[in-house]
Symmetry: C2
Subunit: 120 residues, 2 copies
């Protein structure tokens, strides 16, 4: 099984720019599971998209307008959301903050973008 | 597929006492994935244990001495760790804080403890 290091340190891990005002940092992962931080500046957004992966996210800080399918809600620090596979979702950042996104299976597309290559 | 509600709000979700100075709150989940908050008071601990699930965790706040197999490290806000299946792990909370734990597959034992029952 392909897997990350056991420990991930904030200061040792690169942030990757993934959009205007949006940065991503990988946490741990293996074939089945991946955890990712995504930092948003106020006014930045996560474009509407969908994927086969299950996703559960935690609002670590900030305020977001979150779209999940036909539902739009305002969520803030301490809240969370679940994205069923293939469900269109996206967000607008209303106050600067960070989401912590969990995926199953892992998002190998993120690791390739990170400059490392893993088998699918 | 069994799944949580789409949104989980901090203020609407119960905290369950799971140890001395340790509380847990469920975030979203489905069969493959579950995200969970675990709050620790200073001096409390997560007993050494292991499980078949893959686990990736994020240190949302606080400082922890974390044991993963034969490795012991001090980790703090912003750091993370990966627990391979069946790896013994546990922590001591050195400064009050919270971990956000992702599991694959879901920890149905947590939902049963939460007063709801789901099929395995």
């Amino acid at each position: 099984m392909i897997q990350s290091n056991l420990f991930q340190y904030e200061q040792d891990t690169a942030w990757e720019r993934v959009g205007d005002g949006v940065q991503r940092q990988l946490l741990g992962f293996d074939d089945k599971l991946m955890l990712v931080k995504v930092k948003f500046e106020k006014g930045s957004y996560g474009t509407l998209h969908s994927h086969a992966h299950s996703q559960v996210s935690y609002v670590e800080s900030g305020v977001f307008e979150m779209t999940l399918g036909d539902t739009i809600k305002i969520i803030s620090k301490g809240d969370g959301y679940y994205v069923p596979p293939y469900t269109v979702h996206g967000c607008v950042c209303l106050e600067e903050g960070m989401l912590v996104d969990a995926f199953s299976p892992a998002r190998w597309d993120f690791t390739i973008a990170d400059g490392k290559k893993y088998a699918l």
